[in-house]
Amino acid sequence: MPDWLTHVVIGLLLTELFSVKKKSVVLLGAILPDILPKIILLQLLVPLPIFNNKVLEAAHVPFIFFLGSMIAATLFRYRYWKIVWWLNLGALSHFLSDALLRHFGEGGVQLLYPLTSQKYTLNLLWQDQTYLLLVPVLLLYLLIRKYKK
């Protein structure tokens, strides 16, 4: 995963480009796919029981996220499809930026699941190099903000 700051800045850029009224929904969509899979990071602090974390990684699949967002959107007293669109706009930016990452072996994002289980990645950046993505996106965001004023 690129760090959540990068995901959120990409989300902020999209809120400007699409003139989103409720930015927090897009930003939430930009980090939600990582919340469940990253529970495993707790093992840095405490030993976790032996379990297969694939069950958590399902939240990181665009199709499954889309279905989940359709359920989550019913919690909002707002225009339903707006919420679904904003959540998925953020999530799509998340999945596409994750698809830039380098991996050993068979890493990547299952962009076309359930049509295929193929994982897609451009193998460009290691996770610790995402500042190379963050800096230009942040500059572009600030430029658009300035232009809009």
Partner: protein, 145 residues
């Protein structure tokens, strides 16, 4: 059929589809169903398996280095040069052996990964704060603030 009933049926169908997809994903993707943290207890089950493991560099060993994963130590055989990661973790791609060690083919240091986790946590708090400023939770659901 009235609109309310149609909405309820659609909602139930989406929940069912989500449950089915989640289950399908787990069954088809969890191959082999062997979490890395179980390797220490039953290394013979993992013999020949090649996968990526992200853990903590716990120190050098005569054959390579020791990896800390889920608070347990796994010996790693690696013949290349390894520099301990700075405030971060080490990613290895290697083959598991029934003798209880991993034979690493490639390694990569995630330097400053702990800083990335910390920044990510702060970012999460920022998103929550922004969400709280734009929405309010009521008995009827989440409403615009």
């Amino acid at each position: 059929m009235n609109l309310k009933l149609l909405r309820r049926i659609s909602y139930i169908l989406i929940i069912l589809l989500l449950m089915f997809s989640w289950g399908h994903y787990y069954i088809t993707m969890a191959e082999p169903v062997l979490p890395t943290s179980g390797f220490i207890e039953n290394p013979q089950l993992y013999d020949g398996l090649t996968r990526t493991v992200l853990g903590i560099y716990a120190g050098p060993s005569p054959e390579g280095f020791v990896l800390q994963y889920n608070q347990r130590l796994i010996p790693v055989q690696y013949h290349g040069k390894v520099i301990p990661p700075r405030y971060g973790q080490i990613l290895i791609y290697g083959t598991f052996h029934q003798e209880g060690y991993i034979e690493a083919q490639q390694v990569h240091n995630y330097n400053y990964n702990y800083l990335i986790y910390f920044i990510s946590f702060l970012t999460f708090l920022f998103v929550l704060a922004l969400f709280a400023s734009e929405w309010k939770i009521t008995k009827r659901g989440i409403e615009s603030a």
